[in-house]
Subunit: 157 residues, 2 copies
Amino acid sequence: MLGRTYEHENCSAARALEVAGERWSLLILRDAIFRGLTRFSEFERSLGLATNVLASRLDLFVAEELMELVPASGHTGQLEYRLTAKGRDFEGVVVALAAWGDRWSAPDGPPIQFHHASCGGPVTVDLRCSGCDRVIQAGDVLADPGPGNRSGKEFRR
Amino acid sequence: MLGRTYEHENCSAARALEVAGERWSLLILRDAIFRGLTRFSEFERSLGLATNVLASRLDLFVAEELMELVPASGHTGQLEYRLTAKGRDFEGVVVALAAWGDRWSAPDGPPIQFHHASCGGPVTVDLRCSGCDRVIQAGDVLADPGPGNRSGKEFRR
């Protein structure tokens, strides 16, 4: 485990932010997941960020097993950063962020639209209750300590 | 509009990260949404972060209308940071981040469990297709330029 940004936080959202909450991290994952980028030079061109920042983010993704650094196909001698299942699983976070931005910060309409590959329909992010199988409306979610809780902090609404 | 962290990014996920992608921002929103915190001192105690950092994050939330700074109830003369609908709408992002952390970084089980307030059932984050109304499996989402797109960047899988 690398140094923890949110050391005293006993929370899975904090753990997720430790591997993907630095500046540019989630946009690198977005480009890997939705643009299929794998090469250092591709990320650099797409995002226009400083080389040392990009290298540091990709290093962390490899160390935390969100990506694997493997020889590129075609025997070119180049390396590529390939998403693992753990990295690809940030798909839902990226779509949830984009959904918020589409609702509150997209006066010209969504810059990017997410479609269901199988049928072409538009993708929404739902909070769903596994108990009653309903889509949960905003503000109808409660948080409680779970089995991994050590903080003893109170939750309420 | 404040200075943009991701100025050349024509993407709603990048817009969302500009208001909530700084260190601590999403954990402050988590505490406001799920712990009901509203006072500066409550956030400070809960998160243990530096006063100037907390002040800067809360200022940005007020400027971007995720929170309103209003007199606290009870005529105490204190002020509180109250979530707006725009701020509360980060609920889905926080739950999506926690879901990732629960799957990949919670060896003792989820530290926090999210429940449906109405029936008590466990909350899941689903990507759902509005076309065929199915839950979308990982890797079955395509991204395409939408009406607000100005970048001309390619998307593929």
